[in-house]
Each structure stands twice: as structure tokens, then as C-alpha cells.
Amino acid sequence: MIELADLQICTLRIGPLWCGIAIDHIQEITGHHQLTPVPLAPAVVSGLLNLRGHVITAFDIRTCFALPVRELSERSCHVVIRRRKSLVSFIVDDVGDVIEVDQHALDAPPSTLDTRIRPYVGGILDADADVILLLNVDAITAIAMVSAPS
């Protein structure tokens, strides 16, 4: 854990939840894109989008938090995340501010947190009146990892 650096976190809303992703992971945030469905893919994959010629898998992370899937609205946008060498997109309902927090402010998620959700939460943050769930990007993209056929 790097003690000195402050953590810059982009806040985003998924349904009623406020979440955060460390800004280092984020390449860009883009608006609406037409999605191409991927039949047979896990439910968390909502489709493929064309980001300036790159084909990127879009995740609807509502499914991770057991929230009902619904039609994408005008305000929903793609948070494009660098993951190792490739890019993925998380579809979120709204994007908030970038906040700077002290590393120390980061708490472990409470032990009572729903075990289905727990793996996707890297930590929690208190910000004003809200609690921000810091997303574990790797764990979320790993759900979709379809095991290769033997």
C-alpha cells in the first residue's frame, strides 16, 4: 500500500448505489453506444461496442449487485477501463465527481456484506452522507470469463 499518494476516485451511480473506480484504471467515459449482443455470453456481458475501431466488451454491472437489468437510459454511459492490455466498459447510470481521498480513509467492507456482492467490492469510503463502494475491476471482469472448451 502506497501511503503517500492520495487516491483519486471517479464516482459513479449504479441504480441506488454509489460506486467508485480508481481513476488510474479509467481511460475515458463515453456516452451512448450501440451495443451488439453476444449470445451465449454470461448475463453480465451486455454487448460489444465499437470504440474508435476497438471492439470492447461492455459489462452491465447491475447484475453483479443483483439489481434488475433495465433498458439503458440517455444518462447511462460507458466507463472505459484499462485492464491489463485490453479495454472493457462498465455501463453505469450516472457519473459523479472525481474525489480525492486519503488512502487511510479506505475501509474494508463490513463482514456482514452480502457474500454475493462482497468479491466485487474492494473497499468502502465515507463521502458526505453517502457510502461509496470501491469496485474490484478484476473480479467483475472475471465473472464473464467463460472457461475455454477443453
Binding site: Q34, V45, L48, G53, S86, A144, M145, A148
Partner: protein, 747 residues
């Protein structure tokens, strides 16, 4: 011990050293056959000399000492106008192997390994001293297994002794070889000023950007269409022209001659045949045929496997060969050639082939095939069995390669890149494998289809034909499996909607309505994919799917269409698996596969020499009969004045010769016994060639099995027409022979 900080310099050193070692290796193999070849000696000398220099500059002291000792030995031999004996050659091979292992190690760790090479250096020096003393060494028996050879086959022996860093598997070598010129160092000097080394990653990046440009062009096309403006259309046309030219150039930078892959083979064949006590002559043809770099990488393992199989199991021991009336030295030939958007590589040996009866017996005893099924299977079907997993026909399976073990992997690997492999058995005379590879992977033609209002792309490579059905009534169900009768064959069908578990409510396949069947072929099987609609064909840029979706084997990737939306590329073999098409091999599907390559063709049959030949009627522009006296001879060539032009004549019986005999050594005799000759006039690119034949037999509509490739020069393939074995004349070869006629007489 030198640690190198600058990775670029180090990388350059490794590249150069590997290039040098590869060419030296090549030259040494050649020297083994003609030990006095001064050019080759010079090459080896210069190779070691250069390497020594670079090592000195990089302060790799031990490698420098080793290469210096090797250089000295070559120099002594060269200056003494002498030749290597076997022991010295072996020492040289060892020196190359060790140097290579060291370069590998240097690449990995940035410094020389701590191993001691003084022994090897001492041995090399000893040879130098022996030479100067004038001591003559007896050549050693070739059957003695050599250290060098056991090392060289290390990749297939699971346990390798690693006292010294083992020489790298030959495959690794190619990664390096892939990015450099394949010429010998002699010509390299000449080329240096005209070519530069470019980082492969940069080329890949460039390729990606061109892919983008192609997409932009496609989008522009759409705009131009919509805008209906003249200026926009012109703009699009220019953009299109530039893009096409650019794409062509960049594709060419990715192309590499297959010889780059092949240059490691002479050494491997030498080592392996030595170890197995066999005599093998490796012939390589068409090494200049170019393939996409990524494809070259993809086929190196399968090809190596086929080659090993041929040496290990195909070619018999010299004694056995002589007993069969063959020459003691077996021949393995590698041939690369273009054929309709594909590159074919044929690996043929003149060994024992496959004993069909033994294979049948084994298939039954191993429980691969039921007794009953066996009766319905043709010999060709039986041979196909060798591609089944864990099916080995070798009496004794050596550690190297059991015939059949791993052939399933060979086929699988090739299918992964959209290629295929077929086998043609000549019992007692050899085995021919033909590997078929698409030209490139990056930009492919594809058919766009529609299912549930979403577009999917099907690579053209897998597409055989499209059938339009006015109603679903013609789909017949065998219990619950939908099939379609296509020219008498029952074609299994699969509904794309079902395969992809798409919502069936929007479209019920049972309701009467028009639909399309895209007949797809993967290496083994053929099936009909039922889609809602067929749109058009398009050049698409293949984009890989994200890691998280790689496991879905129904998709080969994705592409961006002209309107900017993403479309998934369907993977025919993945779909076949999903549809459970041909999970078990049975004769029907294999015949279906054969039919794939069989098509009705009008063929002209004729007799020449003792053989029956055929050419496509479409290639024949006319049939003529001339009096023999009209033949005019220039040198050893024959010509006719035909329609106020010169018609070069090619005698088919001279064009087609058994491989063993040297072509065109004798002057063709002027026909005197008959007073007329039969000539088939063939036209290509406004040039005429007259094929002199003995007798025109017939014109037939025949199916043509193109899987069987030619067994001798001038023959493109063999087919059974009207129940007789008929060879298909290689017109390209005929044109080539005729063309060399004209050019030689013009000068």
C-alpha cells in the same frame, strides 16, 4: 560475465547472432554433402568471423573464444584447400548448437551463462592442430548416434538432459528468424542498404491502423451513398484507391516466404535421419511462396510434426528400401504453391505409406470403428482415421513421433487458422499430406447474415454455397434432426437461432417462410446453417474478442461494419461443435467432405506417353492437328508458326517425367513415325502454348478429387476419371517451360 543494460542493443545482438547461426547451420548441412564447396566454407567462415566480432564488442568473452576457435578451424580448412571430415563437422555443429544456446541464455539473462566451454574450445583447437600436423582422420560411421542429433530433437523428447543449457528448440529459433532476412550473409550484405529491420510490433500496429482505415473507407462509402453528392462520391473513390493500395503494401510487409520456416529443416532432417539410421533426401520447392507472418508461426508446429512423422515412420531403413526395390535414400519433398486464394504445402514421402489392412484391423481392435461400419468405409475414409486422437499405426511407437499420435493436433491447429490438412495414401509408395492455409488472417472476405435482426459475419473460407428456400417444407426431419437433401446428399442442418439460443418467439422456423441455408465446411464436416437472411459479402477486419469472451468458441472474433456497429464473426468449427455435427466420425460425413472438393468439370482426356491425362476444357482454346514437317526447331526447342505467331510446343511426355529422372536432358526427337501431331492449344494471358499429345481421347463431365496432388513434375494432381487413374496436367508448369523457350531464343 557481462550484464547488459540496454535491451535494444542486446536484442539486436540476439537477432543478428541467431540469423548468422541459422545461415551457418544451413551451410554446414550443405557441406556435409559437398564438403569442398568453397562458397559454403566462406559462408561458415564469415558467419563465425562476424559473430566473433560482435561478441568481442559486446564483451561476451567466452562466446567470443568459442566462435573464434570455430572460425580458426574453418580457416585452416579453407586455406588448406581441404574439406571437413565428419568429426570436424560434428564439432562445428556442436559449436553452432552451443553458441545458439548461449545466445538464448544471453537474451534471457543479459549475460553469458557460467558454463565452461573450454572443453569444446579445446576440441576445436585440437582439430586445428591436427590439420596443421596433417593428420588424416577417418570418417566415422554415419549410423552412430551423435550428441548433436539427440539435442536437436529435444523438443519432442520429454526428458532432456540439461547439463549445459540445451540448444533451443528449433521452433523458438523461428521467432527470431521470423523478423529477419532469410538470405545467406553473402547476399545480406548486398541487401542491407535496401532493407531495414522493423520491429514486428510496429508492423502490427501499422496493420491495425490500416484496418481502421478500411473501416473508415467503408463508412465513407455509406455516406457517399446516402449523401448522393458527386463530390462526396469522388472523394470516396480516391479514398478507396489509396486505402486499397495501402492495404496491399502493408499486407506485403507481413508476408514472408515459407523458406524462412523451412531453413531449419535440412538440419533437423539430417540429425533425425542420422539418429534413426535412415537416409533421407529433403527436397524443397516453392520456398518463395509467401504467407502472412502470423500464419507462418501458426503452421510451424504442424509442419514440423508431419516432417518428423515422414522421417520416423514413412521412410524405411535403407536395407528395407533396397529390399523393396527402392533406392536406399528416401525422399521427402516439401512443396508450397498457390491455389485459389490459399497456399498449399504438400509434404510427401516415398516411404511405405499406410497399410490399409493393418489400419482397418487396428481401428476395429481399438474400438474406434464398429465392425459393420468398416465395411461401408472406403480406403480413403480409413486413412482419414489417422487424424483421430490417439490413433497410432506405427508398429513400435518411438519417443519421437508415433504415426497418428498428434495428427489430431496437427489438424486442430490448422483448423484454428482456417486451414485444413488432407492425406493421400499410396500404399507401399509413400504418403502425401496437403496442408491448406488461407493467405492471411487479418482482413478476410466474409458473408454477412442475419439472425434475430442482428448481423453476423461468416468467413468466406468456410462458406461453400448458399441455398435459398421458399419454404421450410423442404427441410426433412430425421427424428428431431433437421436435414436438407442437397443433390442427393443429406445435409445436416443447424438453426443459427437455436445455436445461439436466440429468442425463438420472434421467428418460428416451423412457420412457412423463406429462409437461407449457408452451407459451411470446416476441415472435416459440412453442414447447413439456417439463417434468417443473407445480406452481402464484405471485406472485414478481424478484431479479437476480449479475453473474457475467448471461451465462446462459436465466435472467431468480431468486426466493425460499415455503419460502425460491431458484428460477431461466426466460427464454423465452433458452431459445428455446438450443433454436434459429426461428433463421431462416420462414413457419411467423410463422403460429404469429399464431395466438397469434388465438382463437376468438363475435362479433356488425352494420351501422352504411357499415361492418361486430363486438362480442364475451359483451359483449352482449340485442338489442332499439324503435319510433323511444320515443326521448326531452335536449339532443343520446338516451335510452330501458328496464325502468324510463334507457338512454342511442349511435349507432354517430356514435360511430365518421373521425379527421379532429370528433366529435359535429351533433345526431344522430331516425330517422324507419324506424319501428323495432335496439339492442344492453351491460351493464358494472350500467350499460346501448344501441348503435343499422342491422342485426344474424349471430353467428359467428371468429378475431380483435387485432394490428390501430383506425384511427379508437370502433374497438378491425380483423379479417377471413367474408372481410370488420370493425371491432371499442370498447365502452369507447361506455360513456364514454354516461356523459358521464348525468352531463351529471344536473347
Amino acid at each position: 560475465m557481462t550484464a547488459f543494460d540496454d535491451p535494444d542493443t542486446l536484442h539486436e545482438f540476439v537477432e543478428e547472432a541467431m540469423a548468422i547461426l541459422a545461415s551457418v547451420d544451413d551451410a554446414l548441412v550443405a557441406l556435409e554433402l559437398s564438403p569442398r564447396d568453397p562458397e559454403r566454407l566462406k559462408l561458415v567462415f564469415r558467419g563465425f568471423h562476424n559473430l566473433k566480432g560482435t561478441c568481442g564488442w559486446m564483451s561476451f568473452a567466452k562466446l567470443e573464444a568459442l566462435t573464434s576457435a570455430a572460425e580458426q578451424l574453418v580457416d585452416t580448412i579453407r586455406s588448406g584447400d581441404d574439406a571437413f571430415n565428419r568429426v570436424q563437422l560434428r564439432a562445428m555443429f556442436d559449436a553452432v548448437d552451443t553458441s545458439r544456446a548461449w545466445v538464448r541464455s544471453i537474451e534471457k539473462h543479459g549475460c553469458e551463462p557460467s558454463d565452461d566451454v573450454s572443453g569444446m574450445i579445446a576440441r576445436l583447437k585440437e582439430h586445428v592442430a591436427d590439420k596443421t600436423r596433417g593428420a588424416a582422420l577417418e570418417p566415422i560411421s554415419s549410423a552412430t548416434p551423435e550428441r548433436a542429433s539427440t539435442d536437436a530433437v529435444a523438443p519432442v523428447t520429454p526428458a532432456r538432459t540439461a547439463d549445459v543449457a540445451p540448444p533451443p528448440p528449433a521452433q523458438d529459433l523461428l521467432d527470431e528468424a521470423g523478423s529477419r532476412q532469410g538470405e545467406t550473409s553473402d547476399t545480406e550484405d548486398a541487401n542491407r542498404s535496401r532493407s531495414v529491420r522493423v520491429d514486428v510490433a510496429l508492423l502490427d500496429h501499422l496493420m491495425n491502423q490500416i484496418g481502421e482505415l478500411v473501416l473508415v473507407r467503408n463508412q465513407a462509402a455509406q455516406f457517399a451513398e446516402d449523401a448522393n453528392s458527386r463530390a462526396m462520391k469522388q472523394f470516396h473513390q480516391r479514398l478507396d484507391a489509396v486505402t486499397v493500395a495501402l492495404q496491399d503494401c502493408i499486407m506485403r510487409t507481413r508476408m514472408q516466404p515459407v523458406s524462412r520456416l523451412w531453413q531449419q529443416y535440412p538440419r533437423m532432417v539430417r540429425d533425425l535421419s542420422l539418429e534413426l539410421g535412415k537416409q533421407v533426401d529433403l527436397r524443397m520447392q516453392g520456398g518463395e511462396t509467401e504467407l502472412d507472418r502470423t500464419l507462418i508461426e501458426a503452421i510451424q508446429d504442424p509442419l514440423m510434426h508431419l516432417l518428423r512423422n515422414a522421417i520416423d515412420h514413412g521412410i524405411e531403413s535403407p536395407q528395407e528400401r533396397v529390399a523393396c526395390g527402392k533406392s536406399a535414400t528416401g525422399t521427402i519433398s516439401l512443396q508450397a504453391y498457390h491455389e485459389g486464394g490459399h497456399v498449399n504445402i504438400a509434404v510427401s514421402d516415398d516411404g511405405r505409406g499406410i497399410d490399409i489392412q493393418a489400419l482397418r484391423t487396428k481401428a476395429v481392435t481399438d474400438g474406434v470403428i464398429a465392425d459393420k461400419q468398416l465395411d461401408t468405409m472406403s480406403d480413403a475414409d480409413i486413412v482419414e482415421l489417422i487424424f483421430l486422437p490417439q490413433f497410432s499405426t506405427a508398429g513400435t511407437v518411438t519417443g519421437l513421433s508415433g504415426r497418428g499420435v498428434g495428427l489430431d493436433v496437427v489438424r486442430e491447429n490448422l483448423e484454428d487458422i482456417g486451414g485444413s490438412v488432407t492425406v493421400f495414401n499410396r500404399p507401399g509408395c509413400g504418403l502425401d499430406f496437403t496442408v491448406r492455409i488461407p493467405l492471411t488472417l487479418a482482413i478476410i472476405p466474409a458473408l454477412l447474415v442475419c439472425a434475430d435482426r442482428v448481423r453476423y459475419a461468416i468467413p468466406q473460407v468456410n462458406l461453400v454455397e448458399i441455398i435459398w428456400l421458399a419454404s421450410t417444407a423442404r427441410i426433412e426431419y430425421v427424428y428431431n434432426a433437421p436435414t436438407y437433401r442437397l443433390r442427393g446428399e443429406r445435409l445436416p442442418l443447424a438453426f443459427l437461432r437455436d445455436l445461439l439460443s436466440l429468442d425463438a418467439s420472434t421467428h418460428t422456423p416451423s412457420a412457412d417462410g423463406e429462409l437461407y441455408i449457408a452451407v459451411l465446411a470446416t476441415g472435416d464436416y459440412r453442414f447447413g446453417l439456417v439463417v434468417d437472411d443473407v445480406l452481402d459479402t464484405n471485406e472485414i477486419v478481424v478484431k479479437p474478442l476480449g479475453l473474457e469472451l475467448r471461451g465462446l468458441d462459436c465466435y472467431a472474433g468480431a468486426t466493425v461494419l460499415g455503419d460502425g456497429t460491431v458484428a460477431l464473426i461466426l466460427d464454423a468449427s465452433g458452431l459445428a461443435r455446438q450443433a454436434r455435427v459429426g461428433l463421431t466420425p462416420h462414413s457419411q460425413t467423410t463422403t460429404a467432405q469429399q464431395e466438397l472438393v469434388q465438382d463437376k468439370h468438363a475435362m479433356l482426356l488425352f494420351q501422352a506417353g504411357h499415361s492418361r491425362f486430363a486438362v480442364h476444357l475451359a483451359d483449352v482454346s482449340r485442338l489442332e492437328q499439324f503435319t510433323a514437317t511444320r515443326i521448326e526447331r531452335v536449339g532443343e526447342r520446338e516451335y510452330l508458326q501458328y496464325r502468324s505467331a510463334i507457338l512454342p510446343l511442349v511435349r507432354v511426355d517430356h514435360l511430365v517425367r518421373e521425379r527421379r529422372t532429370r528433366p529435359r536432358t535429351s533433345v526431344p526427337p522430331i516425330t517422324t513415325e507419324t506424319d501428323s501431331i495432335q496439339v492442344i492449344v492453351h491460351e493464358h494471358d494472350e500467350r499460346y502454348v501448344g501441348l503435343v499429345v499422342d491422342e485426344i481421347l474424349d471430353i467428359v463431365d467428371s468429378t475431380l478429387d483435387t485432394r490428390t496432388q501430383g506425384t511427379r513434375d508437370g502433374v497438378a494432381g491425380t483423379a479417377i476419371i471413367r474408372g481410370k487413374i488420370t493425371e491432371l496436367l499442370d498447365l502452369k508448369r507447361a506455360r513456364h517451360v514454354a516461356q523459358t523457350h521464348v525468352s531463351t531464343t529471344n536473347t
